[in-house]
């Protein structure tokens, strides 16, 4: 194995360590060194845990070691939460111990101008072949190994979205928010100063991680744009990458001697670089997770034809507008399909696309229309809309819809939007649990389906290009 491959292979120990040492583990609740250890223990990490603290014998019922060198076991991952100035010495010990990966939580490096100190830890890590995230981070979470080595919330939901964040506070906050929103994560990585591991390294890892279906990145800036593009291109061919890039309004501090220079704000390059390597840029957190949820659950569409099924004209028109805004192709229904849809609705319904089942539509109308849409090969994607009415119990509708989608083995992308009261919230949760992404507005549902189309289109184009070469 080449040196480079060897270093790359060590990144997996951030997510699948057999043993973890928490250096700077603390007895005092509220201290970072305590909360990380508590999260590791309470979340039920599958491997072995070793707190390291020279002034404690036991923390959270675990035997404590004076130094990592005293741990009578191999240590794969070291989580380091001690004052910055002690980090080099401790990292040196980690190296001697044969630690493979580290999460350096400590702050007080480059972010406050301590460039030299940061360079020193990079040097030490290189010397011993340790790969590390940070410094200046909140930790790492890995769903399959049940590792929550963060000082974020404890009960993170396991899922298929790998979330990489450059921002600490926002990252922790979003971890909490995903729990509230019922969104599952396969991994969370806090990047901090990116002294060693950066976005490109992680993309190279997640592209082959069977637990991850989509990568979501909160980014402020890259250290090496070209390297990111290469890794992103490679990853996007297999898995979608969604990026929230903050600092859109920022203008590059460039000496402008040309017209071209005056037209190129620094954000322009991020924007086109993303486009060129298939990265989907979300404008905000909500959009990013909306898309990620869709990618987690839905198959790739086999064609461009989208059909809207609704019980309300207004919401149907809004979805139609959104389709036009996001470049989705509302299918012109052929005669025979119009006849089929006509059978699913009262005489005053509209069998054209959007298929309007009318406000009196209930379980039977929805299930028949949905079956038509699923069984006909000319229809490739479905947008299902529902405005709450008294004739339908929303959770029950969700059960009916889920049964049909299951019956057709999730063979086509379907997104849903319910508008109404609390019952609709509950009902949408049921859809989510059954692998149908649901959204509170038609625009968000359409935008999410459109993201899937954008990615599929890029991939098709790129594969064709690569084949031609």
């Amino acid at each position: 194995m080449s040196q480079e491959k060897h270093m790359e292979s060590r990144i997996k120990y951030l997510f699948f360590p057999k043993s973890v040492a928490v250096i700077g583990a603390s007895r005092s609740p509220g201290k970072i060194g305590h909360e990380i250890l508590r999260n590791i223990v309470e979340y039920g990490f599958k491997g072995r845990v070793y707190p390291v603290n020279p002034r404690a014998d036991k923390i959270l019922e675990l035997k404590c070691y004076k130094s990592i060198l005293e741990v009578p076991d191999e240590v794969d991952l070291a989580v380091i939460s001690i004052p910055a100035k002690f980090v080099p010495a401790v990292l040196e010990e980690c190296g001697k111990k044969g630690v493979k990966a580290a999460a350096i939580i400590s702050s007080g490096f480059k972010e406050v101008g301590n460039v030299e100190l940061e360079e020193r830890i990079v040097e030490i890590a290189r010397k011993y072949g340790i790969r590390f995230i940070g410094p200046n981070i909140f930790g790492v979470y890995s769903a399959p190994s049940k590792l929550n080595a963060t000082f974020g919330p404890t009960e993170v939901l396991a899922g298929k979205i790998a979330f990489i964040t450059q921002s600490g506070a926002l990252g922790i906050a979003l971890m909490g928010w995903t729990i509230f929103a019922g969104i599952g994560l396969s991994a969370v990585v806090s990047l901090g100063n990116k002294a060693d591991v950066d976005e490109a390294d992680l993309l190279k890892y997640f592209v082959n991680d069977e637990h991850t279906k989509v990568v979501l990145i909160y980014m402020e800036g890259l250290n090496n744009g070209r390297r990111f593009m290469e890794a992103a291109m490679h990853c996007s061919l297999k898995k979608p990458i969604i990026v929230i890039k903050a600092g859109r309004s920022e203008r590059g501090a460039r000496a402008v001697a040309s017209h071209t220079g005056s037209l190129a704000g620094s954000d322009v390059f991020y924007d086109v670089a993303f486009k060129q390597c298939g990265v989907l840029r979300a404008l905000n957190v909500e959009e990013a997770f909306d898309w990620a949820r869709a990618f987690t659950e839905l198959p790739e569409p086999k064609g461009d034809n989208v059909v809207i099924i609704t019980n309300g004209g207004g919401i149907g028109v809004m979805a139609t507008d959104a389709c036009s805004d996001y470049g989705l192709n509302l299918m012109e229904l052929p005669r025979d399909l119009i006849e089929e849809f006509k059978k699913c609705m009262p005489p005053f319904g509209s069998p054209k696309n959007p298929v309007d089942l009318t406000g009196q539509a209930a379980y039977d109308e929805y299930s028949r229309a949905l079956k038509v849409a699923f069984s006909d090969d000319r229809i490739h994607s479905i947008i299902l809309l529902f405005c709450q009415t008294a004739v339908v119990d929303p959770p029950k509708l969700s059960e009916v819809i889920s049964d049909i989608v299951r019956e057709y083995k999730h063979c086509k992308p379907i997104v849903a939007c319910y508008i109404g009261g609390e019952e609709c919230q509950k009902a949408m949760r049921i859809l989510e649990q059954n692998g149908i992404p649901a959204y509170p507005t038609p625009e968000r549902a359409v935008s999410s389906l459109a993201a899937i189309y954008r990615w599929a289109k890029w991939k098709k184009k790129m594969l064709k290009k690569l084949k031609g070469k």
Binding site: R226, A257, S258, T260, G261, L263, A264, F269, A273, K465
Partner: protein, 233 residues
């Protein structure tokens, strides 16, 4: 005398310039197969007359000075010169204007250029970003780029398909395609010029920024009318 791109750039840097003279920039374009307006440098009025008669009137005169990057600002560009008499007058007017507006400017000569018939104006640009390296830009000339900033970018290198997308991406694309009876512009030639600009940027790491502005797009073919190349110090 034919120089390689490397020689052209090194020559300028050796002279202490961080930019290429217009004729050097155009030579660079030519070396990459991008068509440019016919032009030659004259060291005297007599030589200018000779070159003009060879190129054919009308012609354009542009000042050549290591101290003048923005030629129009010092009266260093005079267009549509139709005869020898006009050229003599234009030459004298330009010299006195440059001397008045920039007294210490060293004048190396004048560039005599063919007057190219009006066509659809576009701009092809290049820039080097510290993060992503070389990138190319495309836009329609005039108010489209000045006011609407209607341009598209790509990180270089790019291929024909990318260039084609860049052209189609701008809002003013319809103008190139032809509208209300105007003739459509030669998109294929434009694609070719953009790809070659991308090659120029990726193969010459000394180029920091460049403007081919304007580039005229005809029904058949394109021509670079003015070119500016800024080098890295």
């Amino acid at each position: 005398m034919t120089m390689t791109p490397r020689e052209l750039i090194e020559h300028a840097l050796k002279e202490g310039r961080t930019w290429l003279y217009e004729h050097e920039a155009k030579m660079l374009c030519s070396l990459y197969g991008i068509p440019v307006a016919k032009s030659r440098v004259a060291k005297s009025k007599e030589e200018a007359l000779k070159i003009a008669s060879e190129i054919g009137y009308p012609v354009v005169l542009k000042i050549v000075s290591p101290d003048v990057l923005h030629k129009s600002d010092v009266g260093g560009v005079i267009v549509n010169i139709k005869s020898e008499e006009e050229l003599v007058k234009a030459y004298d007017r330009m010299m006195s204007s440059v001397k008045e507006k920039k007294p210490d400017a060293r004048i190396k000569g004048v560039l005599v250029q063919e007057m190219v018939p009006q066509a659809t104006e576009v701009i092809i640009g290049g820039i080097r970003d510290p993060q992503f390296g070389p990138a190319v830009m495309f836009g329609l000339g005039g108010i489209f780029v000045e006011i609407f900033r209607d341009v598209s970018f790509r990180i270089a290198p790019i291929d024909e398909e990318d260039a084609w997308e860049m052209i189609h991406e701008i809002k003013g694309f319809q103008i190139l395609k032809g509208y209300r009876g105007t003739t459509p512009a030669d998109i294929e030639a434009l694609v070719d010029a953009i790809v070659k600009t991308s090659n120029m940027l990726t193969e010459n790491s000394e180029i920091d920024q460049l403007d081919l502005n304007p580039v005229f797009v005809f029904e058949k073919g394109v021509k670079v009318i003015d070119a500016r190349v800024i080098l890295r110090k």
